[in-house]
Point group: C2
């Protein structure tokens, strides 16, 4: 597969930096509470501090980063309370999306969702956590986009970003594939069935339950007590390669394209 094409919005350096930092956050390359500096990030990325500033400001607005009172930039701390509240909101919002997905007129929807769920199962069974997570992502956002509310999808996307350490922990925890292949697969199959039969209450309930189980698993796995530098895994956590960011290629053509959406 060739190098992935640039997204429409990746035409400016700031946006490429944003994408890079966002990915690093989702991959858990940074530890919650860790301090970042514009200049050192710029050095790592091979740009001037300017585009980094823009990207960081955006991530602050999205609450993935936080600015302390002394103006230092840190990765959003990840406390139990915070995460619990976040999950509670996610259950509400993503449950709502699932409910709306029941009203979708998209005939191929159910089939696609079944495909994603199946892919997740298979990937998990061969312990390919990354692929399983990707399929899991496709499944969830397949549902959310079927809700037909683009602004809702955006909001949920942001909530996923803010739950970054959760995703990172799943990725680093090989045992996670067991959960994905048992609990998640079965519950998500219930979501699909509810969407197929148009049972809105069941769709909302099942999707919320999927999140609830994920939350319960995570709480058992993640050590919140070490909140100062963000909790590592309680046991068996293969340590990541540590915080670092890859340079951003600068000599891409800077071309614009037509439409903007939303």
């Amino acid at each position: 597969m060739p190098e992935r094409l640039l997204t429409l919005e990746d035409s400016s350096l700031s946006e490429r930096v944003y994408t890079a930092l966002r990915l690093a956050l989702l991959r858990g390359k940074f530890v919650p509470g860790e301090a970042l500096s514009l200049r050192s990030l710029a050095a790592s990325l091979g740009t001037s501090p300017m585009p980094v500033r823009a990207a960081v400001q955006r991530l602050i607005a999205e609450k993935a980063l936080v600015q302390t009172a002394s103006r230092a930039i840190i990765v959003a701390p990840f406390t139990y309370e915070n995460f619990k509240d976040l999950m509670r909101i996610r259950m509400e919002l993503e449950g709502f999306a699932a409910e709306r997905a029941c009203m979708s007129k998209d005939r191929g929807l159910v089939g696609r969702l079944k495909g994603f769920n199946q892919s997740m199962l298979e990937a998990a069974q061969r312990h390919d956590v990354e692929a399983a997570l990707a399929a899991n992502y496709s499944f969830h956002f397949g549902v959310y986009e079927a809700a037909g509310l683009p602004q809702l999808t955006d909001m949920i996307t942001n909530l996923w970003l803010r739950a970054g350490p959760y995703l990172a922990a799943v990725q680093r925890q090989p045992r996670a594939s067991e959960i994905l292949s048992t609990n998640s697969f079965k519950i998500q199959d219930r979501v699909i069935e509810a969407i197929r039969t148009g049972d809105r209450k069941a769709a909302r309930f099942s999707l919320a339950m999927d999140l609830r189980f994920a939350f319960a698993w995570f709480v058992k796995t993640y050590d919140f007590s070490d909140n100062r530098l963000g909790g590592p895994l309680k046991r068996d956590g293969t340590e990541g390669t540590g915080p670092d960011v890859r340079p951003v290629s600068r000599d891409e053509p800077r071309r614009n394209v037509k439409a903007y959406s939303d």
Copy 2:
């Protein structure tokens, strides 16, 4: 009353610019779809383009402003579809908050809410739209904060910003006070009653209905057809003073304070 003290976060020039622009958006000083420019905004505000850039980028991240494919910065267009979807999400999220408010242990809550609602009624009856809106704001966010989920309050705050033209229209439409003093007052009283008795379903339902009525009124009042430059009021709309922004005082001390929240 003395000049309002600077908020903790208003210590940097960028944040003051942000606050100014945000207020201008909420007051309808800008028309949806209108183009903005960093340099001219900076000139109006009496700063360099730099802090304006930061503020604008933040507002873009919050989807109050939009960047076109040609990199122009415009006020987020306000279409019927967009607004309808936004209101649907608001009903869900704010209804959820109302439901959670039923579980609040705050003994003074119901009393305070009754006070806000009463203030709104009285202000509306003397056709003081601004005061009525302020009381309405206090009531709503009184409920939302009682939900005990700060991140939820943030999200709702953002949704209110994105519904900016709605608030602006209410402010410019004297007849709006009638709606506030009849429909809204009664429905919000039902919200309070539900919270008092702990009836979660009724709280959610009533609050959602409040939004639904507001939406219905707005659709009758606002002319979406002129979407190019944002819809003015259909009739009776006293034209605003037009887009303009007041300068930001620069020689404030730049002091920091302790805590950061969230």
